[in-house]
């Protein structure tokens, strides 16, 4: 029972971690929380559904194609709802992202309807561990795939030229443009990477929780809690935060109460904010005068 909860908690946790990573990347690049990140998850899931169920491609291929398409969606999102507003106040960008999230949500409803759909599993069947714990292979696949993607993103950001460009832009856009970095391309890449990460999460979660056009809000809210708990602006923090949220959800749901799941997560968020506002991994953030 506990092992089973652990596996399901970790596997939903890593997906929250993926969404949270996407959010953190955008936050670091442009300094504004992306309120449409949850919708990327939903949209990625639906793209995967289109490729897998409507065009009958194998699930692996459709996951990859769907997440690449999500990269394009990310660039479009950046071009329409962030770039024109880059010099405006942060709250104008937040509201425009909310508008974009409504557009994505309603667009998905108009295209795919509001009946929940699902996609194929990456791996079928289940195994029994330690006597009584039934673990579905899909959970294991989610953990493995997500871990691989996280490692690749780490390599991309820390070891490659493009990653350095993205980090430089995130640190200081003006300075980056002075040393010859095309800022729009670099920010576009960041948005694409963020949407890619979140979109693949949607395709992975779809067989476990049915896809519908309103799933983005809850997933986005949990990823948001994950970021704040893990440490604001830190990529490792986002992953750890995602794991914590997933585990709290799984164990809290089993042992305390399923109705209070979300409340538990948010009580934790408020407590973390009260006693360690920079989160578990966050460094001290300086305040601008």
């Amino acid at each position: 029972m506990n092992l089973q909860l652990l596996v399901s908690g970790v596997s939903t946790g890593v997906v929250y971690g993926l969404i949270a990573m996407g959010m953190v990347l955008i936050f670091r690049a442009v300094g504004v929380m992306n309120f449409a990140q949850g919708e990327f998850l939903m949209f990625g899931g639906y793209l995967c559904y289109t490729l897998n169920r409507l065009l009958h491609l194998p699930i692996g291929l459709s996951l990859i194609l769907a997440s690449l398409l999500m990269g394009a969606v990310g660039v479009i999102f950046m071009r329409t709802s962030y770039w024109p507003l880059r010099n405006a106040q942060a709250r104008a960008i937040i509201v425009s992202a909310m508008g974009a999230s409504i557009v994505l949500k309603e667009g998905a409803r108009l295209i795919w309807g509001s009946i929940p759909v699902t996609v194929e599993r990456v791996v079928n069947g289940s195994t029994t561990l330690a006597g009584s714990a039934v673990v579905q292979w899909q959970y294991v696949a989610i953990i493995v795939i997500s871990a691989m993607i996280m490692a690749l993103v780490y390599l991309l950001l820390e070891k490659t030229f493009i990653g350095h460009i993205m980090q430089a832009t995130a640190q200081d856009q003006y300075m980056a443009s002075l040393v010859g970095i095309p800022v729009i391309m670099s920010i576009g890449l960041t948005f694409a990477l963020s949407a890619f990460l979140t979109g693949i999460g949607g395709g992975l979660l779809a067989p476990l929780f049915f896809l519908n056009n309103t799933m983005g809000a809850t997933a986005g809210a949990k990823a948001f809690a994950a970021i704040v708990i893990g440490g604001f602006g830190s990529v490792q923090g986002a992953i750890i935060g995602g794991l914590i949220v997933g585990l709290v959800e799984a164990f809290g749901g089993a042992y305390i109460s399923t109705t209070y799941q979300l409340v538990l997560i948010y009580v934790m968020l408020v407590l973390v904010l009260m006693f360690r506002p920079q989160g578990i991994f966050g460094g001290k953030i300086q305040e601008k005068a």
Binding site: K105, E106, T259
Partner: protein, 327 residues
Amino acid sequence: MKQLNYKFVIKYILPGLFLAFCLAIPGFTSGYMLRVLNIALITYLCVLSLYVILGMCGQNSFAQAGLWGVGAYMAANFVMKMGAPPLAALLLSSLGTAVFAFVLGFAFFRLRQYYFTFASVGLMAILNGLFMNWNEVTGGALGITNIPSFSIGGAIIKSEPGNFYVIFFICLAAFFLMKVLFNSALGRSFMAIRDNEIAANCLGVNSLLTKSIAFGISGALCGAAGALYAFLAGYLSYQTFTFQQSTMYLIMIMLGGTMSPSGALIGTLIISLLQEWVRPLQNYMQFIYGAGIMILMIVQPEGIFGGGKAIYDKYLKHSKTARTEAD
């Protein structure tokens, strides 16, 4: 002289005409439309509360719908469990929500800027969870039904026009109170914090206390709105008081312009009425609405009223320079 006339028209005659028009509204609108307007005016009180905390004090809160719910459930409980008269319940729940928000403000405003916004998102989710699950007080998932209508003294106000006048006058009072607040020392210290918190501290503004007061005032507005909603609808459900509702308030105030109560009114009315008028297009409505918000933010990030005011100011300045050049 001509200048003065323009100002006079804009300051007194137009609002006067608007007021007269508003008072005449129940004469020519259907009961259904009045209901929509009533809800819109209640929403306006909540948006006004966002004006205090965001427009004046510069702190973005996503907990307003939660405070609205606190007010609504408080009023319902005062009337149904303690037998308080509705008018007293309205005042008490407004006051109670204000105290609730003020105390929470002390805890939450230890966090600054973004972090406060995050905490307010958390507060919203926690409050919604409580509304859904705290059966003794909120009726849980079933909600509270059969809340009596509003009454003053012995006169029960049940009809839509009657409710409209009650809500309208409370909105009007709130509007003018906001104008007074804007010009008071307290309002100025709110704006000092909005513009530069450190500078405000240097000038002797206690920012923690001041921000908590701002949150308290916004709580009072939300509490009054909640009580009015409880009496108007007669039924409370946790599904009304959601995070989505809070984001709606933010969109409304950003649409109208954060810098004035009038902007808040314009934003509220546009969104509330648009949803009714374009009902035949219901299927595409939300989509158009989302796209509209994006387009508006791109072309007019200051909101409709903010943009209009900027044009008016530019015109004034232009005509002034034209006159000085003529001299």
